[in-house]
Symmetry: C2
Subunit: 346 residues, 2 copies
């Protein structure tokens, strides 16, 4: 143990209030605490980078969901990559790179009884970089992979549409669908994102919902209709795609970023009876259900990263934990371009 | 050939205009035409009873659906049971009872080139009565059977909720789910229907949506949540059930009678993100997809009718084709009690 831990301060961002609509400055609280040596069986991790995800908005709300909400006064929940700086656990050595849920703080103390539960796991930087481990090889990649493959079940020649195409999940979905032999049409906001999705990621087309009509775009780019729609956005776009689905289509409900900051009720898909007419299904995906198969998806996609069939784009923001609140809002205004990552330390 | 066909008149009901909201008197036209001997290969059927179904409302609308709309001036489409009164087709003899789509008219002339396409098929009245052949052994029964068994996939011990519980499809769904070992909770309008569903059909409970809160009813009668919801109604009830579903729940979208006469947009399920949280799916069913397996479902359910495990209730309205328009509206006001059948002839 060479690092003088006692000299270090852990800067943290805590949830101060439950946001109404888009999170505001007053919803956050900045705190600091001393860094301490781990107890027997415990591990101390220095955070390198945090994953900023649309799902975070849901975690701030009261109410039943797939995981409990973040409590008022608690460190904001966040997934991330770190490096072990002190360990009294034989499974982790100083210098090991790890993935887990450090939360929005610079140091993550994992006590012995939480090492397993916390999902702390070593990662291999030969398979991908720190930021790729938060993107294609991380939760968004796992979400896209299993949502597409297990829920969507793509067949060669089918047409796959994915919204949030330039985002973290959308990148994986579209590239995997291309690898599986599908026609892939993205939906994204802005000409630059659309161009990148087509030119860099190899999608067949991308519809700019800010620059034109999604309905017209679907007519033009999905001449044989839509077999799989991977939905990250909900709202009007979901309703529009529902008018273009084929028989036995699969709609993967992964998120609804257009609805997360609503102060009124969520807008339900008024065209849902298209499911009846087309004998189609709409099904939700929660990535944690596939934890025992993450290693398989990582191995497969790391291979595609290596052989160039898959690319991974991250939008890395510098500034440490203090920059968390304003960086998070980029997700909801669509300012991020690629997987949004907050860099905490080198 | 003993019937003096030339002496007979065929009374018909035609669609005169596309209804806005609930169909009105002016949307219908009454016509008559002479009855004629069939040509070679053709069959002439006298209609005995017609099936009145919520789906009829959809057939009156312009626009793409699972079958083309009824044209203006055409005889209104309807399924029914009849008896062959003249035949120049070796497969059908005078006196044979048949099922098919006679439409709202007293005589159905099926030309040679349409015998196959029309779905004309002999039925065996030893398996069930004329009205049972329009109910449990007919389209509603097939819809309930395959919607529950193929889309819902019930497992013993699961909780199944069905709306329109006293209706044609609901009866089959609930009774089949009981036979398959599920807990079954109906939703119906009025104390009499609810009592009948529990006392006569053997449902475990039934929630009267006109007499109380569906939310409270679900809490009370589905203490272990909802595994399958078979939806015939849409609207608020669908949204309420979505708040009570279990992980991996299946929502079978069979219809949305609450929305069919809307003059504004369909109300989408604003709680659809419950599909995500619960990794649940919502899937449409169209009965025609199962045509090659109807005979299996009929054989199975005819057995249950015989051994008393299944009952079949029809609400038979007398009055012939002239009574069609006002009888149809009973469906949408919920006045019918059991499968609505219009008797045309003895």
């Amino acid at each position: 143990m060479t690092t003088p831990l006692a000299a270090l301060t852990n800067h943290q961002v805590r949830l101060a209030a439950r946001p109404v609509g888009l999170p505001q400055a007053g919803d956050w609280q900045f705190t600091e605490s001393p860094v301490q040596e781990p107890q027997d069986g415990g591990v101390l991790v220095k955070t390198l980078a945090l994953s900023l995800d649309p799902a975070m908005r849901g975690w701030m709300n009261e109410g039943k969901s797939y995981i409990p909400p973040v409590g008022i006064g608690e460190v904001m929940r966040a997934g991330g990559i770190g490096v072990v700086v002190a360990s009294k656990n034989a499974a982790f050595a100083v210098g090991d790179h790890v993935t887990g849920g450090p939360g929005v703080q610079e140091y993550w103390a994992v006590p012995a009884d939480q090492v397993k539960r916390s999902g702390l796991a070593k990662i291999d930087l030969r398979l991908g970089s720190v930021t790729q481990w938060l993107n294609v090889l991380g939760m968004p990649g796992m979400t896209g992979y299993f949502g597409l493959m297990d829920v969507g079940q793509p067949q060669p020649g089918e047409t796959v549409v994915v919204s949030g195409a330039a985002g973290a999940v959308g990148q994986t979905v579209g590239q995997m669908a291309k690898i599986k032999g599908c026609r892939v049409v993205g939906i994204a906001g802005g000409a630059a994102k659309c161009r990148w999705v087509v030119e860099e990621l190899g999608f067949d087309a991308c519809i700019d919902y800010k620059g034109g009509s999604v309905r017209d775009g679907l007519k033009e780019h999905c001449p044989k209709g839509v077999d799989i729609y991977f939905d990250n956005v909900g709202g009007e776009i979901l309703d529009t795609v529902l008018t273009r689905i084929n028989r036995k289509a699969r709609i993967v409900i992964c998120g609804a970023i257009s609805q997360y900051n609503n102060t009124t009720a969520v807008q339900g898909p008024k065209n849902y009876l298209s499911l009846l007419v087309n004998r189609a299904r709409m099904e939700g995906i929660v990535v944690f259900d596939y934890a025992d198969r993450y290693h398989l998806a990582i191995a497969e996609m790391a291979g595609y990263l290596k052989d160039g069939r898959m690319k991974s784009k991250e939008d890395v923001v510098e500034g440490g934990v203090a920059a968390f609140p304003e960086t998070l809002t980029k997700l909801f205004t669509g300012e991020n371009f690629g997987k949004l990552v907050l860099k905490i330390s080198d």
